[in-house]
Point group: C2
Chain length 638, copies 2
């Protein structure tokens, strides 16, 4: 074993327990980096910034590791420190060491994508704090309190025509006098006073970015004096009790007058929990959060705002409003500063929401001359094609098949799900399971692999139909269905076989056809071909785990070189954060909402033809997938 | 009796019961006009416009009177009409008739000044209603509801960048569809949608103007499609239970945290009663009132808004805010449309409030080239001097003596108060009593008369001291005081004499000295003399009842020809109404607040000297009162 030898020649070897996985690292690597290289899944929601505190590991020989950082002191209790706990992202390896990864730090349960591509933007938040020391009133200077304050802010800081929140005005006379006419004012959008505190509190200025997903709520607590995310919170969307999908929830919401309020309360309570969690971790008083930015799909935003969502589910599917909104936190019940502003980002259409606007914002595709294709895969998949000159978008009803729904052994990407598959031959199948346990089912990314691999092996044809001429125990037919065995009973957690049926394949083909049709029609209407596309962005939690080659083989995405493909993760939350820390980005979001043209896919004259073509693997029009065509030619030759 | 004869020669005689007062009138005179000429006090808060409905009388021979008007049908019940009730201001006299004035219609209790000078201003309210019939959404026109509406309002009506109230947005999708995409929108200030109703309701657009007086709240319900006041409501300010004067109420307000809220609730409940009364009379749904304008002195506005008023009572007496405010009705609890706007007019200083701004607005003195002197007499008297070029103001601590406080037999201007006095000689005194009953005391206007008349008769000297050389049973001295008998015991309601004491005179002289000092110092600082003043406006309820000649004799107001003096009544409420129906007037109010210079009277180097001079009758510097000087010369010659 090279590792064993390594000890002798001065190499640093890290052993991860309980698996016993070993890896050689360079001095100074973090435990998290070592774990990644070793294929050991350690939770790290903040991406290794020392913020989330989720990557706790136990170090067997502490002297082999760098000293405790401030972040570690913040996240670890005394008892944990004494027991050898460290944060994997903070601890640097100096010598060979044995690391125990405790169950709570393993990538388990759902793979929550809380991080995404984040472009650098200059810090320019809408909320500002300014420390002010005013001249006291005298009989020869009887200016009222408010005018005294705004005169000062005009003369010294250049603010014109400042307004004041009425609730704040009530308290102004007492606050202004409580520390001898020295106060810190919080100003929103250079025009409204939303807080006044005695003394100097100008370093306590925070913001909160929220992504309301259909299944997950993620929040970033951001220090607005630095623009840095200082902690993260997340929670399952509590509305799930009233339906996993949007349409079920809209049905519930329209069931009675109070139901919509129920949904609103659930999501607001959920967000409040996320705020509480993030504030607790970073030891921040939620009252010092003066602004929140909120993204989500159009329906989620209707629920969040308790706006009648009924018509989102009825043709022609129009939302109540498109533009961004600013609402006082108190009026929504959001537990930040009650006079803080809640900025809801704009949407584009009934099924292209503020989360998609945030995707465009994060990736910067509307500011670029390069032609981009952006795909945010979900139950509804949003697709964008274009550049700074012109961009169009559509929503594809891809359905929940990639989430495991309507798939016989389908499941979400949680512990026990097969997430990657390689079919070596008709008889030999390799797979990886989330959490490294025995499998219980198959998640979406593996379904793509399986279909691509079966197609390459000739187990299915271009229509997705099983080739029953192939003789293998894995492929079998009973009265009800034909299926392919991915995992034998003795390999699985349940003892039962995990298979893929003909119907499962059809479901996935429907889903991928919907997404591809969106891409192809937008490309047609935008008048670009595959070779014209400079960059492909795959956004969303699911997208980050798919194999791009296999995605092309099954015809899920256009045939564009993989080097042009970028997996950008949860760009909804990073877009929300960008709009939080930068006024310019917020204006760009509004521009995106206005400028991007929405195309109602089902109204396109080519929709049916394109969709039917896309039901083939990779497509009935194989010439649109030249690299797949070439691959097939080579495979079939063998 | 000429009246008796009149019947024979075709004259029309009106007899008022129960007094039996008779008067000859011309055909076509209203009962109200006849009553005024006969000296019969009938309530008429609207000034005879058929709006207030307070002048109900019973006509004994209905055929002698013109037919019922629409206003009468509105104000009188069927039972009342059958009983012969009419409104005195509406009913025209055709033949001799007997009229019974029922107790409730007599000028009784307090003389409430609800009307004031009202300049014509072109109608241009901030709230507008627009009937809209939109194109329905289709699959090829999927604009969201809000954008569909504002696109229409932009294209057809020229509104740009309209916002929408969040609470309204929630209901938008349902409302917009309930009458087939036909709605009526209410827009505030050409920028915010505050109401949307199905169908066409564009003729139901009302506003409400409120004057919060220290003792009285008056409200005008205004039809904003015509600019006409359609009904009036008034009530005692319910805060009186926590103090008759401002300083006592500020003391209460600062006594505990909740006390200020108590005061706010009282005044808001009071205003809501006034709104309710006015709406009931005019049969208007308060939800159709979309804006209210509010004036009041600075302290009343602090109470109304629950802004800490403590510092108004402490030197240097600065208010919390000067500029006007716009607050959503719901946030104040005002019972108009919950999304309606409450506009609080700006103030000038701690003791020159929005009511004084409204005085200036009503009289138009800041827009005129004429030099004006405006005096709004009250416990605090506001004085303005200047014209469109430059205007200055001050507040004079005139105190409550004119309201009857600190005066031995002083009382407010209510039934039973002596309100006018003429002293024929040392022994002979004539007086008029409010309500025509036996007197119980003396109100402020009569105190001015008494002092002026006693001075003319030489009963008091220029220092206000009784001339004890005059031998008359009316002037007498006991151990404690010297006094002059105004009414003998057998003339009064109580059977006790009503007198004026040396101390009463001193109190009035202090009050008038304060007011005159304000006038004289402002004139000095504005560099104008009596002859430079083109017009004098006396505003306020009290002012309307004073005898201007006597006011000059005692030196309450500068010696300016009476033809230049105008009594303008409650210009606070008419100013509030003007700001309600005209955006330009609202801007003018803001201009008044900014442009009028405030002078802190007690800081003026000449204040003490001027004040001491003003304690004399009319003034130690008699040359400032040339007409009084001339009058005295003539009198003393006799």
């Amino acid at each position: 074993m090279p590792e064993a030898k390594g000890l002798e020649v001065g190499k640093i070897v890290v052993v991860f327990e309980p698996e016993g996985k070993k890896i050689v690292v360079k001095s100074g690597a973090t435990i998290l980096e070592a774990a990644k290289n070793a294929g050991v899944g350690i939770r790290s929601e903040c991406g290794g910034e020392g913020i989330c505190g989720k990557c706790k590991v136990i170090v067997k020989n502490p002297l082999a590791i760098s000293e405790l950082t401030e972040a570690e002191k913040r996240h670890l209790s005394k008892l944990e420190i004494d027991s050898g706990y460290r944060l994997a992202c903070q601890a640097h390896i100096k010598q060979s060491v044995v690391i125990v990864v405790p169950p709570e730090s393993r990538i388990g349960e759902r793979k929550i994508q809380v991080a995404g591509l984040e472009r650098y933007v200059p810090l320019n938040p809408l909320v500002k704090k300014i420390h002010v020391v005013m001249a006291k009133p005298t009989l020869s200077d009887v200016r009222p309190d408010f005018e005294r304050l705004i005169d000062h802010l005009r003369d010294r800081n250049g603010f014109e025509d400042l307004e004041i929140d009425y609730e704040l005005l009530k308290k102004l006379p007492d606050i202004i006098r409580s520390k001898n006419w020295a106060v810190t004012v919080t100003i929103w959008d250079d025009r409204k006073l939303i807080d006044i505190e005695p003394g100097d509190t100008s370093n306590e200025l925070f913001g909160f970015a929220v992504d309301i997903g259909t299944s997950k709520i993620v929040g970033y607590l951001v220090d607005l004096t630095t623009g840095k995310t200082i902690s993260i919170g997340s929670i399952e969307n509590p509305q799930i009790m009233h339906g996993e999908d949007i349409i079920t929830r809209i049905g519930f919401a329209t069931g009675s007058d109070s139901n919509l309020e129920v949904l609103q309360k659930l999501v607001i309570n959920g967000i409040n929990q996320v705020i509480h969690e993030a504030c607790r971790k970073a030891k921040v008083n939620p009252n010092k959060i003066y602004e929140a930015t909120v993204v989500g799909n159009t329906a989620m935003l209707h629920f969040f705002l308790a706006i009648q969502p009924r018509y989102l589910a009825l043709s022609p599917f129009v939302p109540a409003i498109k533009k961004s909104l600013n609402i006082k936190a108190k009026n929504l019940g959001l537990k930040i500063n009650p006079r803080g502003n809640v900025h809801v980002l704009p949407v584009i259409a009934g099924f292209v929401g503020a989360d998609a606007v945030a995707d465009v914002l994060s990736t910067g595709i509307l500011e670029s001359n390069e032609v981009s294709l952006l795909i945010d895969i979900g139950t509804n998949t949003e697709v964008f094609v274009g550049n700074s000159e012109d961009m169009i978008t559509c929503s594809c009803a891809s359905g929940p098949a990639f989430e495991g729904a309507h798939i016989k052994h389908g499941m979400k990407a949680v512990t026990g799900a097969i997430e990657k598959v390689r079919i070596i031959s008709e008889d030999e199948v390799e797979y990886e399971v989330i959490g490294g346990v025995k499998p219980t089912g198959i998640c979406g990314s593996a379904m793509i692999d399986i279909i691509a691999e079966m197609f390459k092996q000739g187990i299915i044809d271009s229509r997705g139909r099983f080739n029953l001429k192939i003789k293998t125990p894995r492929l079998r037919k009973n009265n009800k269905w034909t299926e392919f065995v991915v995992a034998w009973g003795d390999e699985t957690a349940t003892g039962k076989e995990i298979t893929v049926t003909q119907r499962d394949i059809n479901e996935i083909l429907l889903a991928k056809a919907a997404i591809y049709t969106g891409c192809s029609i937008l490309m047609k209407r935008r008048n670009v071909k595959e070779e014209d596309i400079d960059r492909v962005y795959i956004a969303g939690a699911f997208g980050s785990y798919i194999n791009p080659e296999n995605a092309k083989i099954i015809g899920l995405i256009p045939d564009i070189p993989t080097r042009k493909i970028e997996f950008v993760g949860n760009t909804a939350i990073t877009g929300a954060k960008m709009a939080l820390i930068s006024k310019e980005m917020r204006e760009k979001a509004n521009l995106i909402s206005k400028k991007v043209r929405y195309l109602e896919l089902t109204m396109d004259p080519d929709f049916s033809k394109e969709f039917v073509n896309a039901l083939f693997i990779p497509n009935r029009n194989i010439n649109r997938f030249p690299t797949v065509k070439k691959l097939l030619k080579r495979l079939r030759k063998n």
